[in-house]
């Protein structure tokens, strides 16, 4: 039993996971303090980071916080953004004093897309389904099955941040 489906256009959707503060709390032990660490990468530093990581540096002023706990260095906290073919991801990385990654948290995920397909009346085949519920894409989109987006962009972004950490902050 089949029914053709039609498409209604909508431009984009997104999910916000964690604020800066929440991401800091998720990646560092309680009681850690964070001080913004303004940084401006000059052309030479940008080139060195690009060579070390194989990734392009698009932002000259990265968002960096220095973490301290009981007046001792506690590592670094970075907020960065990567852009894929259809997706935009803001994420946070925690790096320990030894230069080891303590963790990565996605803060924000946005995706452009080609629209919701409506009128999928084939659902009548299933008992107990209801079609009257208003579909709020920005709320329900977390339930995508088969969404296997690669996280390669994030992995590459982390490589770039680690190179910056090694070359500029250590």
């Amino acid at each position: 039993m089949t029914v053709p489906v039609i498409v209604a256009a909508t431009p984009a959707w997104g999910v916000q996971y964690l604020t800066v503060e929440r991401a800091q709390g998720a990646l560092f032990p309680a009681g850690t303090r964070f001080v913004p660490h303004p940084l401006e990468l000059d052309a030479g530093q940008q080139k060195a980071i690009e060579q070390a990581s194989g990734q392009r540096v698009r932002i000259a002023r990265p968002r960096v916080w220095k973490a301290t706990r009981n007046d001792q260095p506690g590592g670094w906290f970075f907020v960065d953004e990567v852009i894929g073919k259809h997706e935009f991801i803001t994420y946070a990385v925690a790096v320990g004093t030894e230069g080891v990654i303590l963790g990565i948290e996605i803060m924000d995920y946005r995706e452009t897309y080609g629209g919701e397909i409506r009128g999928a009346d084939w659902r009548k085949q299933f008992a107990g389904k209801r079609r009257s519920d208003p579909f709020k894409l920005e709320v329900d989109i977390r339930n995508i099955t088969g969404a296997t987006l690669s996280c390669r962009n994030v992995t590459n972004g982390v490589k770039r941040l680690l190179a910056m950490h090694a070359l500029v902050l250590q």
Binding site: M1, T2, V3, P4, V5, V7, V15, Y17, L18, A26, H86, I89, Y91, G103, I104, E105, I106, Y109, T112, Y113, G114, G115, E116, I117, R118, A120, W122, R123, Q125, F126, K129, R130, D133, F135, L137, D140, I141, R142, N143, I144, T145, G146, A147, T148, L149, S150, C151, V154, T155
Partner: protein, 296 residues
């Protein structure tokens, strides 16, 4: 009572994994931490990309001597062997060298000289203490099942943490508990930027296999990473199949069986309390024949 929702996402299992919990903030925070730990553990044990994983150790050495694996790896391997038998060979985790040849796995994953060989009860022996022995050179890849298993372990961690409701979505393999019916959305296989609502899920798991975001060129043809061991070829990326089941490991594995066997997979799906939807060329059907007829 309206529960607060707590959502996090991390890059794991080669995709973005989202974990949601509903309950008190502190409890949700600890619960999602535990869920991510479980997923990271499955990843470390079962990734063929990682030389230190149990699976890589098996592929390197299990044809020479017995190799002890983590009980979780034992559990997944046993289910894979059982499903191989029940599906008449359609489900096969011994296709690692095929995946490597097509570029789905990094070069050097398969041990030297290992041709594609089926991972069956007679080629993979596993005892009660999780000692594994291959009776021949073999390259096992749990890519078609481990992600679902990771979701199950993460859901278990959430439930143990005592949150009222939870959801884990590992790049489209997802499982929920404790929620009112959750609308499930799938991507159009011929235009993955587009979505359709498929059905509502109260509790249980759903997984989808499709070619978007993971395709390669083999012999000049664009193919999915789903290898059909019966016809010895990769499937074409013009369809998707979505399976619901009580557990995500079962849903994940049965998407491959449904993709390869089509409607012939129905008795097996029924045995596991699973249902399938095939989506091809703009039509969503409950049988593979209908999907093909619509396309003709």
């Amino acid at each position: 009572v309206k529960l607060r929702e707590f959502r996090r996402a991390r890059p794991l299992l080669g995709t973005l994994v989202e974990v949601c919990a509903w309950g008190k903030h502190d409890a949700c925070f600890a619960a999602t931490d535990a869920a991510f730990s479980a997923i990271a553990r499955v990843h470390a044990l079962m990734s063929a990309h990682d030389a230190g994983s149990d699976i890589s150790r098996l592929n390197r050495s299990a044809h020479e001597r017995r190799v002890r694996v983590h009980p979780w790896v034992g559990e997944v391997l046993r289910f894979a062997l059982q499903l191989n038998e029940e599906s008449g060979g359609a489900f096969d985790c011994g296709i690692g060298s095929r995946l490597e040849d097509a570029g789905f796995l990094p070069a050097g994953t398969a041990p030297g000289g290992s041709a594609a060989a089926a991972a069956r009860a007679d080629t993979v022996r596993i005892d009660a203490l999780n000692f594994v022995r291959f009776t021949r050179l073999l390259c096992v890849d749990l890519g078609g099942i481990a992600k679902g298993y990771a979701v199950d372990r993460a859901v278990e961690a959430l439930q143990r943490s005592g949150v009222a409701a939870g959801l884990v979505n590992a790049g489209g393999d997802l499982r929920v508990f404790g929620l009112a019916r959750l609308p499930i959305v799938a991507r159009d296989p011929s235009s993955p930027g587009r979505f359709a609502r498929l059905f509502r899920l109260r509790t249980g798991a759903v997984a989808t296999s499709a070619g978007y975001y993971s395709s390669a060129r083999v012999d000049g043809k664009c193919v999915t990473s789903i290898f059909d061991p019966l016809r010895q070829r990769f499937l074409e990326p013009d369809f998707s199949v979505t399976v619901t089941a009580p557990s995500c490991m079962v849903a994940d594995a049965l998407t491959k069986v449904a993709a390869i066997l089509g409607t012939a997979a129905m008795p097996l799906l029924q045995r596991y309390g699973a249902h399938a939807l095939w989506w091809r060329r703009g039509r969503i059907c409950t049988t593979w024949e209908a999907a093909c007829a619509a396309a003709a």
